[in-house]
Amino acid sequence: MLTLREKYYDFDQISSKVFKCRRDDQFFTMKIVSILNEENQANNGVPYWIIREISILKELDHINIVRLIDVMTDGPDLFLVFEYLDNEFQADFLKNPKMFMYPQMKKEFLYQILNTVAYLHARKILLRDLRPENILVNVRTQVLKIALFGAARTFEAPLEAYSSSVGCLSYRSPEVLFQFGCEKYSTPNDVWAVGCIFGEMLLHRPLFSGPSDVELLDEIFTLLGTPTEETWPGVTSICGTCALMGPPQQPKDLAKEFPMLNPDGLDLLSKMLCLCPNYRISAEDAVKHPYFKGV
């Protein structure tokens, strides 16, 4: 078996643990992950969460997912080799000004995101952390790429211990926000995140941006109304204390909040941002929504 440096060469550092490299005429992105630390010592050997995540990445083959090509080990380090995305792919696609020049492009990219989420959900794989920073777009070719797991986010902490940060909260669903650190993710949470991204495409700013769970929930309920047992059966047992609900609020008229959106778009957006996770549209159904007719 070829060693790392025999197989790949022409290393060019991109960031602290990410390199561009080459093999024959092809370029790759290589990410270094250390698998030795105090926590891992107790486990003996390669950490389980790394094995599980990589074994999933290895099975995924989708044009809109950054592909994991190879995995190599060298002592205490793991080298993940991903397909290389050239400069035409802009990270954090919502900051790309060209995004707002062509309305049709938004629909195309939204469709690709939902198609990818449906592909993953069909395999019971959850994204959990879908946000614009993990999405790269090539505006010229109109191809979008989602960087899953290690490709965009460090492997240094297991998913179960994923820590909260301000940026991540914006795309968390109400059922997750209600759980305060006891995060039980499931597929509707990913769809909610896509709904937030959809709204952000339209407004040119994050749909919800509160710095804490409580403030975020308040923003959500200000726009979509405070949930009731009628709109979200079981919500009172989920939220625990009434303090999280705040004073009752009526939902705003989405048509006035998103004047640029046609009725089909409003329908899709409202279904993705449905407060009740059980009533929220699935990714599989969303890709078939009339809004995408002609895509």
Binding site: N44, V71, A122, K124
Partner: protein, 324 residues
């Protein structure tokens, strides 16, 4: 992202089954390697030794766990072979396969229990963290980190649905018996060349022939009509599995007789075993002539206890405990 042998890729839609059939060869020792391995008698005996080790070390755990560990072992042997069949190396491979399996299966077992198990004083070998990590990394690399193995269990539900028995008591009975057959036939080298889907189909047909002989022709037609399986190959695999089942019954009867552990019975067993293996196209060195003969005798112990006896005898008690 829990891992489940029946749904290694967690497919939810029926049309995604085609994906399982498409890539199952990537998770299976290949036909070519099986032929190559047959030319390496030492590897066959090493495999048998390793399977015994894995069964011994993991018999206190879920039988599915030892199944997956042996799957990893087989895929590893396909890629790497064993260059130095020394006792410590064999044990390290077995321990590492079990460790990787526990990590993939989830955290049902407390880490301390696994740790104590893996560091059994039996054999007097305790592996350092770095040693296990290096072996794990070696195995992961050989398997290309594709640890969500596709096994026959991935296809059983599909074929039961084809047979028209989805969610029926009859289907459940067939599934249970087929699963038992799949578990027991895993150690047979003769099945190496067959894809998991073929093994699943054949095991179900064996189970249906055994339990529901009058419906068997109908089930055979339902599976044969599937575009996902090759009828001739299923027939070949079916015969091998049937032979294994017959030998299993004969071996059980023989073990009962040989409990007296007299020299005559031991010799009879060697003779019969050797003859049986030859007739199936595999020539394995007789135990008394094998360079590993002494090694085998020293390493054979009962589950958790010191109980020297011939190989097949001690496997039975262990298996029974595993199945509880």
């Amino acid at each position: 992202m829990e891992f489940d042998l029946e749904n290694p890729l967690e497919n939810l839609h029926s049309d995604d089954v085609s994906y399982l059939f498409l890539i199952e060869s990537d998770h299976t020792p290949s036909q070519n390697h099986s032929q190559t391995l047959k030319a390496r008698d030492l590897d066959i005996s090493v495999r048998r030794e390793l399977i015994s080790l894995i069964s011994q070390l993991s018999c206190a755990l879920d039988p599915v766990l030892s199944y997956l560990a042996i799957n990893y072992l087989d895929r590893f042997l396909t890629n790497q072979g064993i260059l130095q069949p020394k006792p410590w190396a064999l044990r390290l491979v077995a321990v590492s396969c079990i460790s990787l399996t526990v990590k993939m299966m989830g955290t049902e077992y407390p880490a301390t229990d696994i740790q104590a198990l893996l560091n059994q004083s039996d054999g007097g070998i305790i592996f350092e963290t770095q040693t296990i990590q290096r072996m794990e990394a070696l195995i992961l690399g050989a398997l290309q980190w594709r640890m969500r193995s596709i096994t026959p269990f991935s296809f059983v539900a599909f074929f039961i649905a084809l047979m028209g028995l989805k969610e029926s008591p009859m289907g459940q009975v067939l599934k249970n018996r087929a699963s038992e057959i799949i578990f027991k036939s895993q150690r047979e080298i003769r099945l190496w060349g067959f894809k998991p889907s073929i093994i699943a189909a054949s095991a179900l047909l064996c189970a249906s022939h055994e339990l529901f002989p009058f419906q068997y022709p109908f089930f055979l037609k339902a599976i044969s009509d599937s575009s996902y399986v090759n009828k001739e190959i299923v027939e070949q695999c079916y015969k091998v599995i049937q032979d294994i089942a017959i030998e299993e019954e004969y071996s059980s009867a023989l073990n009962g007789v040989s409990r007296s552990d007299t020299p005559i019975n031991v010799l009879d067993h060697h003779f019969l075993s050797s003859e049986s293996e030859k007739t199936n196209g595999i020539t394995v060195a007789n135990a008394t002539d094998s360079p590993l003969g002494d090694l085998k005798r020293r390493k054979i112990t009962g589950c958790g206890g010191n109980n020297p006896t011939i190989l097949n005898s001690w496997i039975q008690p262990c298996e029974r405990e595993c199945e509880k």
